[in-house]
């Protein structure tokens, strides 16, 4: 029984860290700051949640505290990436030439 739980937890752990690795890869490959925020923080959020779930399978007696950590991450992560994106948009960071439409700059004039 315990070994079965351990194997499920290990598989969840590996899938979570795979998402972490993809988030790091996106951080390196994406061309501008908004796409880096997209690829970086959100893949790592899912990766951390999956890792927490996997360790919760391995050590069921810690599950309450792991749940609290997951809850904190779920509430604080979007806030920090939203604040960072808003700050970058308001200070007029250059976007990649592939950008098709920029409704914010159309409505507010050129921020720089």
């Amino acid at each position: 029984m315990q070994t079965l739980l351990d194997i499920i937890g290990g598989i969840l752990l590996v899938s979570g860290t795979t998402f972490l690795m993809l988030g790091g890869l996106g951080l390196v490959r994406m061309p501008d700051i908004f796409n880096r925020i997209q690829a970086g923080t959100k893949a790592t959020t899912l990766g951390t949640l999956l890792t927490l779930a996997g360790i919760g399978f391995m050590h069921p007696e810690w599950s309450v505290k792991l749940l609290l950590i997951g809850l904190f991450l779920l509430f604080t992560n979007p806030l920090s990436s939203h604040v960072l994106a808003r700050s970058a948009e308001r200070s007029g960071v250059d976007k990649t030439p592939k950008t098709r439409i920029d409704a914010f700059a159309e409505d507010h004039g050129d921020p720089s």
Partner: protein, 174 residues
């Protein structure tokens, strides 16, 4: 006049009770024990926080305490988890493909929600599902950065991004 004042204090007391209950649950989860001394200290601390911050910490005030709202909350949570996994896989496929097929843009959408808490939850959900990122909120207009901007006008973008979350949040917060 008197009736409205009475109603005001009634709702304020209910909000304080909700705040106190959620803080106490949080304290018990953080300690992981139900020993009597821990519980007494927790009750004292939660009473103090509820007394001093009863006006500013009002994150539960707009939630409708009806059975439909609870069902919608559970449905919303599972829809959110499904959406999180699906769009993460989509972004992962973009990242590992060699020519990086992105098509970014900032689009403008509008929401029908009116309560501040519902709008906050909607913005957080949009930010947490990869591919879309809330850049700015102005009243009912959201500016959203989208990695694969398929639709550029307001109506189509609203249908694609917001509608799925909005139908659950509308039941919860009205």
């Amino acid at each position: 006049m008197i009736e409205s004042m009475k109603a005001g204090t009634m709702t304020s007391e209910r909000d304080s009770a909700k705040l106190f209950a959620s803080l106490l649950i949080f304290w018990i989860m953080l300690n992981g024990t139900l020993a009597i001394d821990t519980l007494i200290i927790g009750v004292l601390a939660c009473l103090a926080i509820t007394y001093f911050f009863r006006d500013s910490l009002s994150y539960l005030t707009d939630f409708k305490m009806t059975p439909q709202a609870f069902v919608a909350a559970i449905k919303y949570f599972f829809f959110f988890l499904k959406e999180l996994v699906v769009s993460n896989v989509r972004i992962a496929r973009i990242v590992i493909s060699p020519d990086l097929p992105i098509n970014p843009g900032i689009v403008k959408v509008r929401t029908k929600l009116t309560s501040p808490m519902g709008r906050l939850l909607l913005a957080n959900s949009i930010t947490l599902t990869p591919g879309t990122l809330t850049v700015e909120i102005e009243d009912e207009w959201y500016y959203i950065h989208w990695v694969t901007a398929d639709a550029t006008d307001i109506e189509a973008a609203t249908n694609k991004i917001v509608a799925g979350f909005e139908c659950h949040l509308e039941v919860m917060y009205g």
